[in-house]
């Protein structure tokens, strides 16, 4: 594959990385968020403070962590503590961004990573469970959700609310007792970038990826997306981004 060509995962990582400003704290989960944080650090945000749930804070993400507790999550970090410290730091309002993913997402950004099907036990399909997802989605200021975009994943109602988005809509998080001012900020999918309309807290299309039409996004979404008058275009991965991803961040090809 030449530098000009790229695959959907690489694009996803680049778009996610671009959402992160410099000098913020970011709670990083397994997989693509690790690559996005590492890429952001190498590109425009050298002072992103990565926070990993089992205690790694401020690591230099020189090599790709394959696990949220492994040594690379605190390599040349500023602190190596434990899960309570990290989750309590998030509870006190110190974590600006959190990355999330899941098997299903609904219009209000609620996420499912627990079961597929109508019944909790025994379920049709058992997924790993919340892990730190629920904590991140409850306690970080802004969450960025990373998803493959298709109708099986973007559904009117998730089978199980593992991690709260805006729940039933405006005011619902606060009503449930979650800290005010928190919630989903962006959804980065394989087709587009989305946010949440402030009044309705419903998912809204912001910009589409190269070669993707608004119609394609609508077609691949299992619920009605808010479509604004102006829809932006996301730039493709640059040669520099691709070089960093392939040669430095994931040379072993774990994800890309």
């Amino acid at each position: 594959m030449s530098e000009a060509e790229y695959n959907p995962t690489e694009l996803l990582i680049c778009i996610a990385a671009r959402q992160m400003p410099d000098s913020v704290t970011a709670f990083i989960g397994t997989g693509i968020p690790m690559l996005a944080a590492s890429l952001a650090q190498k590109m425009h945000a050298p002072h992103v403070v990565s926070v990993f749930e089992f205690g790694g804070t401020g690591a230099q993400l020189v090599r790709l962590p394959r696990a949220v507790g492994e040594s690379r999550t605190f390599y040349r970090g500023v602190a190596a503590s434990g899960i309570c410290d990290i989750m309590e730091t998030a509870t006190r309002g110190f974590i600006d961004f959190g990355f999330l993913g899941g098997a299903q997402i609904d219009p209000h950004g609620n996420l499912n990573s627990t079961i597929i099907g109508p019944q909790h036990h025994p379920p049709q399909v058992r997924l790993p469970g919340s892990g730190g997802g629920n904590d991140v989605g409850s306690l970080c200021w802004r969450t960025i959700i990373i998803m493959r975009h298709d109708r099986r994943r973007f559904v009117p109602q998730v089978d199980f609310v593992t991690t709260p988005g805006y729940l039933d809509g405006p005011g619902a998080r606060e009503e449930a007792g979650l800290p005010p001012g928190t919630g989903p900020y962006r959804v980065v999918s394989t087709l587009a970038l989305m946010d949440f309309e402030p009044e309705s807290k419903r998912m809204r299309l912001l910009s589409t990826h190269p070669g993707v039409t608004v119609e394609q996004v609508i077609e691949n979404t299992g619920f009605e997306l808010v479509i604004p008058k102006e829809v932006g275009r996301n730039g493709p991965p640059t040669a520099e981004e691709l070089h960093l991803l392939r040669e430095e961040i994931d040379p072993e090809g774990f994800y890309i």
Binding site: T30, G55, R66, S71, P122, N134, T162
Partner: protein, 325 residues
């Protein structure tokens, strides 16, 4: 204090704090007793059918894998498990040892979902599954470590993770806000792997400490496995690094490469070849059985397991570890 909502999940291990105090008074010696023993002895003495058990940190990272394998070897069954894990819990699931599960995350991280978990839960062979967040389950240990019956937190609210847990939402008597109360979780047995310990159980961990601090204080029996056994003088030279003081510990097992195929920071890297072998094998019942026959039942102890893996590969893992640079 008004309870607004209750999770419908079973409280698998209700906390009994006064009993815990009595236990800690009667059953945990303050004497400096040599607790070094083999895995076989530690597991047969302290792990029993139907016990509520937990491991720390998790499958690929500083995990008591040799102890986890010994539990399988001895066929301890009907386990009730604090489900935060990767390959260690996968082995127990694959071997059919688990009956009830407080689950937060069981999966294989970069390698995806756990086939063993899927088989055992979807078939209903595990009769009870109760949901928690990662913070949630650790805070439950923290409450037990504090010696109190519950702990108020601001996670899990509004979600189905709460609904299918055994937590409660109450109106805070001080602020009037809704908070989530998590019940203390006192384990019957905990397994923790550390970098170094003395013969009495004073244990030190390098790098992140995960939830070792909380779990070691939230259990009735604690088996430590350790890369190195050191003289107590070495502990006393750096007491601030001791995460687990000896009186919490019931057994000390000397297990170099005890976290294999997981990593041990500053000691050795994780073994990708071995991890992939489990990921593939665990996809079917037959594959699982073949893997367990070879790596668990087919070896008598951790030493034989290491011989099976071979000194060359183990040496390579040690060489790959970047260490403190």
């Amino acid at each position: 204090m008004r309870v607004i909502e209750s999770g419908i999940g079973e409280l698998i291990q209700p906390p009994d704090l006064d009993n815990f105090r009595e236990w800690n008074r009667e059953k945990k010696s303050r004497a400096l007793v040599d607790k070094v023993m083999t895995e076989a002895e530690a597991v047969s003495r302290f792990v029993y059918d139907g016990c509520y058990i937990g491991t720390e940190l998790y499958g690929t990272v500083r995990c008591p894998m040799s102890l986890a394998r010994e539990v399988v070897r001895q066929g301890k069954k009907d386990l009730r498990v604090a489900g935060q894990g990767v390959t260690e819990l996968d082995l127990w699931l694959g071997a059919g040892l688990v009956k009830k599960l407080d689950i937060t995350y069981i999966g294989l991280e970069v390698y995806g979902t756990s086939s063993a978990l899927r088989r055992m839960v979807e078939s209903g062979q595990i009769d009870t599954v109760v949901e928690w967040s990662n913070g949630g389950i650790t805070w439950r240990f923290k409450a037990a470590a504090m010696g109190v019956p519950f702990i108020p937190v601001r996670a899990m609210l509004g979600s189905d993770t709460f609904k299918y847990s055994a937590a409660k939402v109450i109106e805070c008597p001080f602020t009037g806000q809704k908070v989530c109360l998590l019940p203390a979780l006192i384990l019957d047995v905990a397994l923790i792997h550390v970098h170094r310990a003395d013969r009495y159980g004073n244990a030190q961990i390098d790098g992140i400490s995960g939830f070792a601090f909380e779990m070691s204080r939230a259990c009735k029996r604690l088996i430590i496995s350790t890369e190195k056994i050191v003289d107590t003088l070495e502990i006393r030279r750096d007491p601030e690094r001791t995460i687990i003081p000896y009186y919490l510990v019931d057994a000390v097992v000397h297990t170099p490469y005890g976290s294999h195929p997981g990593e041990m920071v500053y000691c050795y890297e994780r073994d990708e070849v071995q991890l992939r072998e489990w990921v593939e094998a665990s996809k079917t019942e037959q594959g699982t059985q073949t893997y367990l026959d070879k790596y668990v039942y087919g070896v008598a102890n951790h030493q034989e397991y290491l011989e099976l893996i071979g000194p060359e590969r183990l040496g390579q893992l040690r060489a790959e570890e970047e260490g403190r640079r």
